[in-house]
Symmetry: C2
Subunit: 382 residues, 2 copies
Amino acid sequence: MRTLHIAGAGMVRFGKFPASVTFEQLACGAARAAMQDAGASRKDIEAVFVGHVFGGPVAGQRVAVELGLGGLPVSNHENYCASGATALREAWLAVAAGLYEVALVIGAEKMTDRIKGGVAPDPSDLDAMQGFIMTAGHALSARRYMADHGATREQIAMVAVKNHEHSQHNPYAHYQNPVSLEQVLAARPVADPLGVLDCSPISDGAAAAVVCSREGLRRLGIVEAKPVVRGIGLVSGSLRTGLHDLNEEDISRRAGEQAYALTGVDPEDIDLVEMHDCFTIAEIVRLEGLGLIPRGEGARWTQDGHTRVGGRLPVNASGGLLSRGHPVGATGMAQVCELYWQLSGRAGGRQVRDARLGLAYCKGGTVSGTDGGSVTTVVVSA
Amino acid sequence: MRTLHIAGAGMVRFGKFPASVTFEQLACGAARAAMQDAGASRKDIEAVFVGHVFGGPVAGQRVAVELGLGGLPVSNHENYCASGATALREAWLAVAAGLYEVALVIGAEKMTDRIKGGVAPDPSDLDAMQGFIMTAGHALSARRYMADHGATREQIAMVAVKNHEHSQHNPYAHYQNPVSLEQVLAARPVADPLGVLDCSPISDGAAAAVVCSREGLRRLGIVEAKPVVRGIGLVSGSLRTGLHDLNEEDISRRAGEQAYALTGVDPEDIDLVEMHDCFTIAEIVRLEGLGLIPRGEGARWTQDGHTRVGGRLPVNASGGLLSRGHPVGATGMAQVCELYWQLSGRAGGRQVRDARLGLAYCKGGTVSGTDGGSVTTVVVSA
């Protein structure tokens, strides 16, 4: 299959925007930044792939019109929190199939207009209707993890401390201030043992990339090497309550195996990870699920600083969902922007030294997963 | 690019289902029928592509779980009324890229739970908010067409008569009874000159296909020739009120040109068309936009029987949206099912003789198009 080069990437700063700032404005802001970064003009773009959940029908077409790309092929892709990465995957396949040389991929979400408090479970999610909502599920996951592996509440809280520390250096992050361990532990309880700082915020935002074939690089006049999307795994799965250990993360294991097989990458060689840390504990169990950290050791790795920038396996140098923020459809593309900047040596104060190979992981769906969920694994090399 | 073979297709009958019949049940019904038709078992399917508009987040994953395909790559695709065809397009690209040999594509919609009366315009659609809603736009289109080309109200109404006549022979059609010209003309007015029988109904339904590479056909043990998706065009566009003639159909022209260029097909060679006749007049102006009927002659062609089964260019042998029904996300795949049956010689009483090459057209978006719309053009050969 043909490789997919990232010619440029761009974001708008994540955060809470007033109602006057529209989905389209956020998406266009990120798209224009990516096009500028790639040196791409409107006539260079051949197709537009848009990932979002709450943008409404043909939201991507509205964005394309605003960008002056109104006539192009536009498609909208939804896989809940993995929507942005799913849009990238479709662009990858379109370029790999030889249909396009240069495409624009956008992930965007205006959350704050629609979501008050938290994302409401779907009425078909019977577990959630019994109270097994997202936060409750991750709280049970944390309790089980602590019981099984002797991990402490403090170790889990350190994921939030680390990710907030990282995003001080990320100008696109929703939060750019450090939080202390004491603050995380003392934060308003959400679902015991998790407090509000263990949970990713409701954010608005958008992230985009111009992606292309080798021929596309030539057309854009790009002579330097650019990061390459080696392949993108996609698996779905159901995590039914009571059937097995909540932390078994079978879906992550399969998503990792698919990505490694697809790209020929040895997970040992991965230099940094953008991980879907919608909750502190989720970062830990998913890294273990991917086989990047031995089972039961993720909390200790966090405490020991192995997942910090400068550590053995830096995780969420961007700040992750916890601190960069989590506009659901934008998150997957924000992760890819981060890998692009890191692998280009342009990540400033959060730069991972000698980064050559990165993995970005998104999980979309509900924690109980009676309605199914999906995991994407994007492998990007320098 | 690798070709995409249609190994099997299936539908549930379109119609109005009670609230107890879910989106998932409709989608699974169509998927199981397609898998049975293809002789495909669950283990043969490598990925699932689902097109829908109103199914809600990760609806496709819920369907996959119910089908026993829970672990597979699943993605959801939305392009309003072109969603089903957009899902097929992504499957085509994935197979063309070499990622899969056998995939399942589903278009589905449960409309009647959500849509009362008609589809409400998006609040961002400023034209619609002024009253230029879907029906008003098509009524203006009809008036302009009549004024420009000397067409009669009766000729336009004959599109409905024809399509209802066709779907008498389609066991999957929402309506399976003929309507007379007098009935169409006397039907409750909606937007002058269009009455309710000029408008496609609100329907529930689903349609699906098992698609594959040549290697996939081998795996499924299929030895006979199967219809082939030669290529799928996708264009977007905005149709701004007052800027030009509503019937100019620039978007259809571009969609046609893209499909012909992509597939090397001469439009003269097309034997039958599945056309997005959401309104009677739309069938006429879109056929003209595609260059399949000379501009201004579509109404006369209809009166002369050229677009009937048995005529020069049979259009909507299935009954089309007007009579097969229009569950928006399902429509594109229902068109592809019809082409598959027609090109396999399995269309029963509505069979188009010697059909070798078919085109299916979907248009998604609003009539005013301030929020953009998309057109898909699927070219299928025997």
